[in-house]
Symmetry: D2
Subunit: 427 residues, 4 copies
């Protein structure tokens, strides 16, 4: 037990296989314009290959058909999968289904698991997590969607948006106020709602930065009105009032998985930066010889390296001490990583000039996606606040040593009285 | 063998002892205004205590009286020692003597070791490394000091400055051109010169940022003219023309040790930032509740954490693969760490307001010292260039994959021809 | 004649009218999804209103039907027009037609003016400027398109892209090498090519960041292959080899007009930032009371204010001394303004959270457009280089005063010998 | 009356004279190590010269022996004076005496003016402004010094520090609580205290960043204990409780004068940056050819230019509408200018390498002085807050237009119903 920054050779071999597989077999799909159905057919044989390699659904426990690898190994894997849009689903890690499955695994009763977890893991149904509201983003205590208990049913009314996958999901996990008389941390519950239930009205897939038209039969960020939607009380996950605790469990690992994939995105942009630098000539020499470009390379290399070590450290700490012990570390990489990612892509675009701005390269889409990263799963501002609060817990105004020298000098003078006496004697 | 971010318990116990010892026994000395001689008397019993703990001169091999701990353990130690100005010398790591001793250990003959190494390690003599010249800073190929061989002697002429310790050293290790007809990398040698040799003229200790008057009997940054200084050829360390190779060996670890100590400086400033934040009230609430201050805490905490992990990683890599394999990693932390350090101190000053600007706190001195860190041992600009060059070695214009989609799309279309055929068939 | 930062009341009244007109009459068009033809019909009555106000085509000389206002007044107008996508065309300032008209006005013969300028000003034909090539972006000396003279014709071959308006233009002004044996600055010419000429092959409107499908009957950024396109020699604008000189004349004002409009974009984003700050509550108080948000407001307000003053100063200098005298000032605002613009929009997005990322607000489109601003009309890197070079012309290594104190101290001591004598006498 | 960025030729001639005078006659004094008394003798003939030129005490009204130039002309002058430490006093603008004289001119009775203002303007006495306390820095409502009225006297008790000039001043203007029962804004008064009054105890000149030993007979930043100091009630300036109003009047112009001088400091550092860049060679070419250095030149040139225009604009606004109307603009340049200044000096140091860190150049002292600028006269954080608050006054949550498109789209659709009808008809 001691500091070690190496990967054990057996696992490193698997990672090496993954790198080639993602680059040669999955990444080419990005350049084709395929329908969801075609994607399904194209990825099916690839998924089989992943299962054969024992790498399928690495985040799930073995009894759920996964590998139970722990976060550190996931970190090493995700930075490879993050390079390519289609890779996570080929490896059985597709958000938001993966997180929702974990949630049901943690909080679901046996009946609920039989009804929703198995089909979810088998890819027979799809799911969505319906939490964010137009009036409740960074601060979830402002959530207004109400689930009123009437007999054995909940009657749900509310307005959600950015419910990813919401337009195509079979089940929606809705976060709603079940008890408005207590603090929101104790008054909300999670309730499974079939998308086809009467009163579930999917308004649209919200058009976002550069993704203007996402049809309702594609996965998008759905805006949904719930009007007097009735589901049995048995559709509630966990106890009444437990939604916040469960949400933290779901979102904590979700955040670090995002950052793991950002490292992959950053690496890909960084390689493109270097490749362009050595191959493009302007003003009489390759761009690689311009000091500005060299500075970009040095800065991004260092920042990505720092983000990677911090992410693996946070993952390791989660494995050692659990998810909540690493809360500070996860918030650190969430807000800090967003900037690293943005800058890596931004520099890669700039070195490509107008080409970098076109869809001929993946960079423009990566740039738009990166902008969202500073908002979803908690905006930067909230994560910085979280880090500060965690740290300040360790400080108490009453313990503050007076660094002001007069006092400390007196302490020191008492301590070294013999020395000062000698010094004075010598005068 | 696998990723591990923990310290083995035995060594952690030693580190814990160090933290208390530095804080309680050494740091108080900073608040006294002592002469070099008084410092000597005050630190003597402390040094004995360090030796008793088996922590003396940790950077040296056991046969030189050290501990042979390797760079990673040094890293963990130095971030503690770096907190306090006097701590390194109490632990037998005092620059520049420590680096000079290593140099003689590596390159010296048995006679040279007997003459200079033993007395140096026993603290009987002091040493300086005389390399930088007014006209040769970042680019050492511009060094002009000439050592001309005349019979069995070198006749040395030149103008050096920033020779740390130079005014009080017994021996000066001078880097000089011995063969002007070859490239500087092959044409310089290192020669040991007694400071009392005729022709060695110590002009002054150069007054620097806020250290305006350093008397010649104190350690400072000496400016020295060498005029027809004669020393026997046997005073040369290593072969003729070997100075660059030796300098790299001396400076590589020196750089990372600086950064290790910067982490200590950063931690100290950071603690003061937090302590002030919880104890100072303005505009109706403790500063800790202001979001700007929280942002500073989050940013510095994250940056210091990142710097620490990168530094320990670089140290680990040096232990695993040797100093030159970690060249990129050392340059990364050297240029990037300088900014982390500056910002940590700068924010601590700002939160203290005018008090932070006074000498009542150590911050103003830390701030001035940090500014030098971006210049000495290679300015930031050179280290960024080094990082970029190391990385770009891995890229060759001829290998650049055409990311431009038209081509890649054709590849992908060939590969998934079956899928596209089906798609067309369905139309 | 003296420093004055005010606008004369008559013109201020016109500006005030413009602000209301843009806000109330033009801006609502942005929220509708109109075809080019509908836009034409919707803006026709608005254009009449502008002409009635004497504000039509303010950049053109009166003999061309414009107002001849000069750059400073244009600056004050453009910062209003820049707020809204459709405003420039309603005011007869639509790029690229406006710049192309200026070009023909400057360089065209009477015949050429009759043939192309009048119809262009009357809106009967449309034009494009075909300069950039996939291999020649920031460095136009790399342009490869060749116009070979054969009898009374030029035979043009080449590959252009980012020819804005190219797919719908009636005429394309092509920049091509007419003499490959001299330096590119002397070897290129500008030639008018009808888009319908045989050999003009418009491949596509290049899909760019979030604008993925721009049909060929819309204005976009066209990629065009010229294959043995033949046009009469009389289609050349100006003398042979004069293209660089003309391009500078066309691009100089074009750059500052971009920045003027950026100020409008920045102001619009800034207002949205403030409006959201006062109206959105999170964590118990309006966002306007969070210090982070206040910092964003202070920073953007200051940066936009600085950019505005620098832009108006550059415009004033162009009016006083001509376009090329203000080259440094134009480059300053071009590279520096790009960051101001980006940051203003970025902060506005962030304060809106996920709403800011949707197309429900104009911010996401503004964000994407701003990214292009750091590339088109010269990337930031080239403009920084231009600024530095203009400044360094004023410095000559031989004139450098030795700031090194020893020498200056000697000068000073000579000068104040009497004072130092007295000082010494007093000792 | 219209935008104008030029200086009237007569005044420009005076400025040109100033530039030469400061450079040739005053700046050399910096390189000598003179006592206050020697400075006095050296500057006496220079002051006569300034008076002859009609430039003495330009900030004062003519009836006080000044020029009444207004802030804009002061701005043009101060950016020249700011280049050199001794220049302001040679021009009769020496802080803090200049500000204190203004204060007595504004608030003093005829008796007070006779007693203190005349001697101050004639240089017969010196003054200090005693406001800041160890516990009251950025937030002056925390001031605790108490002036209790006993009969016709005030009895003053309190602890002040950073009272500039305090150890050598003849009179101290003390800000103290005269009525603890009302809000501090109404409860404090300004009282003139002779430094030699019983109970005035000047503890020390506070040692600051790199200025470790300032003897009590030099001007420094004094720490002063007031113990039962008794002065007649007639020593109060203005009405009781008016101290805040008066302080704002004194500090407003004081702040902008600081920034005006910072421009001079920035210009001086910038020239040294350029001079070094063209004259120093490393790695085979002058530093001026390195892109990193070019970037520094472009960035600092642009930032200083922006700061200058904003400062002159703020000064112009003060002249037009008075000091308090320009509060936002003054806060903008105060916080933003501090960074411009720091960066200009920091880059100049870095390009000089170790030389820049020595006292052989003025840069190290400029760097230390610049650090204080972000603290004195309100820390950056307070000025950013002030800017934001001034701006947010213009926004009211109830007025916020709903930028959210659904609503605005409806408005627009109503407005352009005719157009949309036609569009539908055409389908």
């Amino acid at each position: 037990m001691a500091w070690d920054f190496s990967t054990e050779p057996d696992f490193e071999a698997k990672l090496e296989w993954m790198r080639g597989f993602v680059r040669d077999e999955i990444m080419p799909l990005e350049t084709l314009d395929l329908s969801p159905e075609q994607i399904g057919r194209a990825t099916a044989p690839l998924k089989e290959e992943v299962k054969k390699q024992g790498l399928w659904a690495a985040h799930l426990d073995p009894d759920l058909g996964g590998q139970g690898f722990g976060q550190l190994k996931l970190g090493l894997m995700h930075e490879i999968l993050g390079e390519c849009y289609y890779a996570p689903q080929v490896f059985g890690n597709n958000a938001p289904d993966s997180g929702n499955a974990e949630l049901i695994a943690i909080a679901g009763s046996d009946e609920q698991k039989a009804q929703w977890l198995r089909p979810l893991l088998d890819g027979e149904i799809r799911s969505a997590f319906s939490m964010t509201e137009p009036g409740a983003g960074a601060d979830p205590t402002l959530i207004k969607t109400r689930a009123e208990r009437v007999g054995d049913e909940y009657v749900i009314n509310g307005h959600k948006w950015f419910t990813s996958n919401g337009s195509i999901a079979d089940i929606l996990i809705v976060m709603a106020v079940t008890n408005p008389d207590v603090h929101p941390y104790q008054g909300m519950s999670m309730i499974v709602v079939p998308r086809t239930a009467p009163g579930v009205n999917v308004l649209r897939n919200i058009p976002t930065m550069g993704e203007h038209d996402v049809p309702l039969d594609h996965s998008g960020h759905a805006e949904i009105i719930y009007s007097d939607v009735r589901v049995p009380v048995t559709n509630r996950l966990g106890d009444e009032g437990q939604a916040f605790v469960l949400a933290q469990k779901r979102l904590g690992p979700g955040r670090i998985h995002h950052v793991m994939r950002w490292i992959g995105q950053s690496n890909r942009a960084f390689r493109m930066l270097c490749e362009r630098a050595v191959s493009r000539v302007a003003f009489g020499e390759p761009l690689a010889r311009k000091q500005t470009i060299q500075n970009w390379i040095a800065d991004s290399a260092t920042e990505i390296h720092a983000l990677r070590l911090m992410t693996l450290h946070a993952a390791w700490k989660m494995d050692q001490e659990g998810s909540s012990a690493a809360r500070k570390e996860i918030s650190m990489i969430k807000f800090w990583g967003g900037k690293v990612l943005h800058d890596a892509i931004d520099r890669a675009i700039q070195v490509h000039g107008s080409l970098g701005y076109t869809t001929d390269l993946p960079l423009e889409a990566m740039y738009r996606a990166a902008r969202a990263g500073r908002i979803y799963d908690g905006p930067d501002e909230v994560h910085r606040m979280t880090v500060a609060r965690q740290i300040l817990k360790g400080y108490d105004a009453h313990d503050v040593p007076t660094e002001h020298v007069p006092t400390r000098r007196e302490d020191a003078q008492r301590k070294f009285a013999w020395l000062l006496e000698q010094a004075t004697a010598n005068l």
